[in-house]
Amino acid sequence: MEWIYIGLTIFFWGLAPVFDKIALKTVDSSVGLAVRMMWSGVAMAVFVLATGKTETVINFPFKNISFLFISASVSLLGYMFYFRALSKANASKVVPAVATFPLITAVIAFCIMGEPFSVQKLSAVILIVSGIFLLH
C-alpha cells in the first residue's frame, strides 16, 4: 500500500515545480511566491480548524514552535532564491540541483549535531557532487 502513496507523493511533488515554472513566465518571482505561500498558509489553517487541532497547536511548547518559526523563515528565504532560479533556468535543471539540499543537512548534522558519517553517506556525496558537476 505504501508504494501507492510513494507514487502519489512523487507525482504531486514532481508536478508542482512544472506549474510554478509555467506561472513564473509572466509573474515576478517574489509576487508568485507570496501567492503560493499565502494559499498554503490558508489551506493549512483550514486543515487545522477542520481537524479540531487548534487547541493542540496553541498548547505546543514555545521552544519547539520557535524552532519551527526559524525553520519556516530560513526555508522561505530558500524559496525566494529557488523561485529566482526557476524563473531564469529550466525546471529540469533547477529542480534536481536544489534537491541536493539533504547533503548540506547531512554535513551540518555531522559537524554540529555529531551524527555518524558512513561509507553509504560518502558514496551519496560523491554521486551528488558528480551529478551537479554534470548538470552544470
Binding site: M37, V48, F67, G78, P96, I128
Partner: protein
C-alpha cells in the same frame, strides 16, 4: 547567475531541517508542516504589505493565480501522501523513494515544456536522485 540562486537555496534548505529536527522532538510531523506553512503564509503576507505588492497581486491574471494555487495544492497533496506512506511503511524505504520526484519533474519538463534533453543531463539527474536517496 542561476547557480548562485541554486547555491543559496541549497544552503538555506539544508539548514532548515536542522531546526525542524529540534522542533519535532515534541510535535506531531503533520502539525509541524501546518505550523510551518501558516508561518510562511503570514510572513509572505507581511512581505506583500510592506513592499506594497498587494496591488500587483490583486491585478495578477486569474490564470496565473490559479496555476500558483494548483502548484501549492500539489505540494500539499504530496505532503499528505508522503506522511501516509511514512505511516504505512518504513522511513528507510519511503524517504529515499520519494526523493525521486526531480526525475519526474524533468520527464514532464522534457515532454510537455520542450526543455532541452541530453544523455549528460539524464545521467546527472540519476546520480543526484541516487545520491539523495542514499544520504536520506
Amino acid at each position: 547567475m542561476e547557480w548562485i540562486f541554486i547555491g543559496c537555496t541549497v544552503i538555506l534548505w539544508g539548514i532548515s531541517p536542522v531546526f525542524d529536527k529540534m522542533a519535532l522532538k515534541a510535535i506531531d510531523p503533520v502539525l509541524a508542516v501546518a505550523i510551518r506553512m501558516m508561518t510562511s503564509g503570514t510572513l509572505m503576507f507581511a512581505f506583500a504589505v510592506i513592499f506594497k505588492k498587494t496591488e500587483v497581486i490583486k491585478k495578477l491574471p486569474l490564470k496565473s493565480v490559479l496555476i500558483f494555487m494548483a502548484a501549492s495544492s500539489f505540494s500539499l497533496l504530496g505532503f499528505v501522501f508522503y506522511f501516509k506512506a511514512l505511516s504505512a511503511g518504513f522511513a528507510s524505504k519511503v524517504v529515499p523513494a520519494a526523493a525521486a520526484y526531480p526525475l519526474f519533474t524533468s520527464i514532464i519538463a522534457f515532454l510537455f515544456m520542450r526543455e532541452s534533453f541530453s544523455m549528460k543531463k539524464l545521467v546527472a539527474i540519476i546520480f543526484i536522485v541516487a545520491g539523495v536517496a542514499l544520504i536520506k
